[in-house]
């Protein structure tokens, strides 16, 4: 299969207003958010391994909650992340190379630990498109108008909403393609990157789109946790 899940749990959670516990360990319906996310990856038969990347001081904690919640967990490993999102991904690729070997078709499916609502369909399409095209990003069509302001005071542009999308995760890549492109960036270029897909996009490498889900939310703020609880308790009609 040669396909690996990388669950990015690098955040220390200060935005949750609780520096003691990173946001991925906050509980949703009585269980840590990250467990729901890992479970979705752990039951996906297309993934050889699920690699959870977390700050060093949270590795044991993560291992413990995985052991408690996921009986068949031999495909799940917990390792240390990096200083930035992209360095964390590079750590994951280095781990794969060291332990399982890398080839041109090795695919990584990178995902925020705090997006537990990711669906089986999104994962399947990520794997398929990354294998076929080399890179893909999960998005939903923008519903709000996007306003650009370069000086943070006045509008510099209002892009056409019909071509705007909101980024979610997973973002999936052929690992060697991503790493080679990343390593070719200057330090300045690396410093302005907040998004792995941008590594490829800024070098002109095509990144395909996977249709996300409105409910594939990122639980970043306390408000998001309430929204997640509401989604689980209430319903979305169509």
């Amino acid at each position: 299969m040669n396909t690996y899940g990388l669950i990015l749990a690098g955040g220390v959670g200060t935005r949750m207003g609780n520096i003691e516990k990173p946001k991925q360990f906050m509980e949703l319906m009585g269980r840590p958010i990250i467990i729901y996310t890992i479970e979705k990856f752990a039951v996906n038969p297309e993934l050889d391994k699920v690699i959870v990347l977390t700050p060093r001081q949270w590795i044991k904690h993560t291992e413990d909650i995985v052991a408690k919640n996921i009986p068949e967990n031999d495909r799940v490993v917990v390792i240390e992340g990096g200083s930035t999102r992209n360095e964390t991904i590079m750590n994951g690729i280095a781990y794969i190379e060291k332990n399982f070997g890398l080839d041109d078709d090795t695919v990584i499916v990178t995902h925020d630990a705090v997006r537990p609502f990711v669906t089986h369909r999104i994962l399947e399409e990520n794997i398929r498109l990354a294998k076929e095209y080399g890179a893909c990003d999960t998005v939903i069509a923008a519903t709000d108008t996007i306003v650009e302001s370069k000086n943070h005071t006045v509008i510099s542009d209002i892009p056409d909403r019909s071509v705007m999308y909101q980024g979610q995760t997973p973002q999936s890549f052929k690992a060697k393609l991503l790493r080679a492109t990343y390593e070719g960036l200057s330090e300045d270029e690396k410093n302005i990157l907040t998004d792995a897909c941008k590594i490829l996009a800024m070098k002109g490498v095509p990144v395909r789109l996977v249709e996300g889900e409105v409910h594939n939310i990122k639980i970043t703020y306390p408000y998001d946790l309430r929204v997640a609880e509401s989604i689980l308790g209430g319903n979305t009609a169509c």
């Binding site: 319906m29 269980r31 039951v43 038969p45 919640n69 068949e72 609502f117 689980l232 319903n235 009609a237």
Partner: protein, 341 residues
């Protein structure tokens, strides 16, 4: 694990709900792959069930016919990648006399508990069966419906007297097609006559010994036993015609579902000493028996492919609605959803 459940909230309105599946050492997780729409699903979707029933049962995920792929299994018998048929009947007790599908305590997917319209199905191993090779997945999707006919025929062989030269099947829809096909496959020596209303539909029953329009039945036509696969408002007239056509001491097997009571000619039932028995749903032993029949008769799958009406890929709620609306307008045939949501 957060599992997306696609529930019918009100007629023609689906909604997303979520359940939490906790992985353990007893349950298998199945990813639904091919799902088939049944008339029972349509009665909920279109709001044709009595209002009280709708109120009590909704919101609920529909669909009780489907196959899926095992994606997680804590037991050796099943491995990820195995394609399985899912049994919708969920028995809650054992009984030495009453079959699981007749126990009032049993639950049934898409009727008394959420059906297969879900991202994942959490199940005990007893409620899935591995699919034999060689069956087209769009046919395997409606295995449950085929198992209902299998179950009824099995009961028929236990109940009906042994003069079985000619057996009539009333109904030229899906259930009539499947029942007459299985009857002919399981008992090739029986002369099977199919009674229907539509010449075009009856022309598809190529395996039957004879097809007859119900308005052209004369005194030369008789049957030793009969299966009723009509249901709905036409069930009563079908049953009364069966009572007329059947020979004394024959057995009538009732399979068609109707919301209405059916007034029938009980005087003639008494005079002829007829036996009427009902069959509904099926149990694990029927699924197992049917899998064996599939293995022994590879041609069955080809016949059943003829009644696959539409195959629709489903990626979101809108696609589910599209599949149900397409199914409403079909003349005959099963609507199968390729489940990619």
């Amino acid at each position: 694990m957060l599992n997306t459940v696609y529930q019918l909230k009100a007629p023609r309105t689906f909604e997303l709900a979520f359940s939490d599946i906790q992985l353990d050492n007893e349950h298998i997780i199945v990813r639904p792959r091919y799902l088939s729409i049944c008339n029972a699903d349509q009665r909920y979707y279109q709001g044709l069930r009595p209002e009280k029933v709708m109120r009590e049962k909704l919101p609920m995920a529909l669909i009780h016919e489907g196959i899926g792929e095992v994606i997680y299994s804590p037991i050796d018998e099943y491995k990820p990648g195995d394609m399985v048929v899912m049994i919708p009947d969920i028995p809650c007790e054992e009984d030495s006399i009453v079959a699981e599908n007749y126990l009032r305590s049993s639950k049934f997917r898409g009727s008394s508990t959420d059906g297969f319209l879900q991202e994942y199905i959490e199940t005990v191993p007893d409620r899935i069966i591995k699919l034999p090779d060689g069956i087209a997945p769009q046919v395997a999707a409606f295995t449950e419906l085929v198992s209902v006919s299998f179950h009824a025929i099995k009961r028929f062989t236990e109940i009906a007297h042994e003069r079985r030269d000619t057996v009539g099947v009333w109904g030229d829809g899906n259930l009539g097609y499947i029942t007459s096909l299985l009857l002919k496959t399981m008992y090739p020596e029986i002369r099977v006559i199919v009674f229907g209303v539509n010449d075009n539909k009856l022309a598809d029953f190529t395996f039957a010994n004879q097809t007859v329009r119900i308005d052209r039945v004369d005194e030369s036509i008789y049957v030793d036993h009969a299966f009723e696969c009509v249901g709905g408002v036409k069930a009563a007239s079908a049953i009364n015609q069966m009572i007329d056509v059947i020979r004394p001491e024959g057995t009538i097997s009732l399979l068609g579902v109707s919301e209405e009571f059916a007034p029938i000619n009980t005087r003639m039932v008494l005079e002829k000493g007829l036996r009427l028995f009902g069959s509904s749903r099926s149990g694990r032993s029927d699924f197992e028996g049917l899998m064996e029949l599939y293995r022994e008769n590879p041609g069955l799958s080809y016949y059943l492919e003829n009644i696959v009406g539409s195959v629709i890929e489903v990626r979101d709620l809108k696609d589910i609605v599209k599949a149900f609306e397409t199914d409403i307008h079909k003349l005959i045939g099963k609507t199968v959803m390729v489940w990619n949501e």
